[in-house]
Amino acid sequence: MPIDQDEIEKIAALARIRIKDEQLPGVTERLRNILAMMDTLQAADTEGVEPMANPLDAVQPLRADEVTEINRREAFQTIAPAVENGLYLVPKVIE
């Protein structure tokens, strides 16, 4: 499956990654190589094979519904760039 530069730009935008114009051909080339390897995998016959959600052959253990965490806001907020009234401050986002 060939991938073109437009698609790379779209994926970069979704992932919030900035790729400079001069980097685009190189990135496209490398991703193409990765996808070529995927194509090899895709060629394997998977008829009748159940899709695997996790490589471990195990079932999810469950935890009892109990509150086990204490309030550690002060400790967590010492490493935050900006806080006010207990809130983490981030650059303004509004839609």
Binding site: L14, Q60, L62, R63, N71, K92
Partner: protein, 480 residues
């Protein structure tokens, strides 16, 4: 042109667990900002999710409640998007293999008819935090207390055809989840939020029109208004030969309008993939059967039983069974009073009216069911009239005690003493000779009307406490 409205609803239901879906943080509503956000909820490096068994149980109970297929093996996926109230950069959700598959349930409409609405699926996921945009001088404040609260997202088929049906669906859903006690159903606190997918198509058409999605509507009334507005907006565009843009819109309750949420078109690509930090949930038959057996009586079953057991009308049975606490209140009143019909009238009339007026929930009702039952017994044994009973009820509502003590303290007991009543009747006759002559001159038909005057006078004299049947008998004897 005639347009048909096609609506599908996605309801995000907060499950009533004590702790979060993937961490041991508390889920208490209204806590101080970020005091219930642990390292897992904050997405600190190396933190891993561990699934809460109660969230799984509640999801399965919901599935059983709507007769859905339960996923014997379900899987969590990552839904990737960037927003500061989602610190991991993805939401853990279920995409390909949800815990609850197809099901359906019945809704009741105002005109007494019912319809079946299909449920496509219901899946477990985590809630995001809250963004506060005001008061932070060009910054946004983030509170992650809500991040990781377990949600069950319930997706309906596009089977809903009007605002009324949408509201009926939400009410039925609310009733079901509160019966199951899997959610507190508190809409004001965001325990039940709704996304509305709505499109129009020419009546008779079977293909779907282009839809708009209205996000995060959180009250029955707003759902109704948002749909009404959106039907108008879309039909105006279509009538003018325009086309509906597929987009996300926001309902603004202050202006009663919906408006487009995103200024520029963003590709809606969540790049779902299986969550590698969680293993598949596998449920065995014994587990599911045990939960099925433990299910309480559900709203629809209770409604049917009220109709047969108490001979209530379908409408009355529907009102009384809509909320589990109200249904329990009614049943206690009915059994203690010994008359279900009168109990139903009092609960639906006086009690619900008073609760609405004072904006109280049935759980905050100041009159216990036992006291209402006692009041009804006093009507049934002729101690008080229905009119006096309303006075007594008012007094009970304002906390003056139970029915008997209020009747006693206020001297409201109906006068059934024939001597005392006779004296009152005599005095009314003596004081109203003109009306007596008019009565005696009248024919049988007119007399029936005229006698009301005398009954009224006696009631007035007795301050409403005379036994009306006895007054009528005495008057018939004396007015000759």
């Amino acid at each position: 042109m005639q347009w048909e409205t096609v609506i599908g609803l996605e309801v995000h239901l907060q499950l009533a667990t004590k702790s979060k879906i993937f961490s041991g943080s508390a889920t208490t509503f209204g806590a101080e900002a970020n005091t219930q956000a642990s390292a897992v909820d904050l997405a600190m490096p190396g933190m891993l999710p561990v699934l809460n068994e109660q969230a799984v149980r509640y999801a399965v109970m919901f599935g059983l409640g709507i007769g859905a297929k339960i996923g014997r093996r379900s899987v969590f996926d990552r839904k990737n998007y960037f927003y500061p109230d989602l610190p991991k950069g993805y939401q853990i959700s279920q995409f390909s293999d949800p815990i609850v598959g197809e099901g359906s349930f019945e809704i009741q409409l105002e005109d007494g008819s019912s319809r079946t609405i299909g449920i496509t699926r219901a899946h477990l996921e985590e809630d995001a935090g809250k963004s506060l945009h005001e008061d932070f001088h060009d910054q946004t404040g983030i509170d992650l207390n809500r991040a990781g609260t377990p949600l069950l997202e319930i997706v309906s088929e596009p089977d809903i055809r009007s605002a009324e049906e949408a509201v009926a669906y939400l009410k039925a859903l609310h009733s079901l989840v509160t019966y199951l006690e899997i959610s507190d159903g508190n809409m004001a606190e965001g325990s039940m939020r709704c996304d509305i997918n709505i499109s129009l198509r020419p009546a008779g058409s079977t293909t779907l029109g282009t839809r708009a999605e209205i996000k995060n509507v959180n009250s029955f009334r707003f759902v109704e208004k948002a749909i009404q507005y959106e039907i108008e907006r879309q039909s105006d565009i279509l009538e003018d030969g325009g086309q509906i843009v597929q987009e996300t819109r926001l309902y603004d309750a202050d202006r009663n309008e919906t408006r487009s949420m995103r200024s520029k078109e963003v590709a809606n690509d969540y790049r779902y993939f299986p969550e590698p930090d969680l293993l598949p949930i596998v449920l065995d038959e014994d587990y599911i059967e045990a939960l099925r057996e433990a299910l309480p009586e559900l709203p629809r079953e209770k409604r049917e039983r009220f109709i047969t057991q108490y001979e209530l009308s379908p409408y009355d049975a529907g009102v009384l069974s809509a909320h589990r606490a109200l249904a329990d209140y009614f049943e206690t009143t009915a059994s203690k009073a010994g008359d279900a019909k009168i109990a139903a009238n009092w609960v639906q009339g006086e009690l619900l009216g008073r609760l609405n007026r004072d904006e109280l929930e049935i759980s905050d009702c100041p009159v216990p069911a036992e006291n209402l039952a006692q009041l009804i017994q006093r009507i049934l044994d002729n101690s008080i009239s229905g009119k006096i009973a309303k006075q007594v009820f008012d007094a009970m509502w304002s906390g003056e005690g139970d029915a008997d003590s209020i009747i006693e303290a206020r001297g409201l007991k109906q006068v059934s003493d024939s001597g005392a009543l006779e004296a009152m009747v005599d005095s009314v006759i003596a004081d109203n000779q003109a009306q007596v002559e008019q009565y005696l001159a009248a024919d049988e038909n007119k007399r029936k009307k005229l006698v009301g005057f005398f009954v009224g006078q006696v009631m007035k004299l007795s301050k409403g406490q005379a036994n009306p049947q006895m007054v009528n008998q005495l008057l018939a004897k004396k007015l000759v």
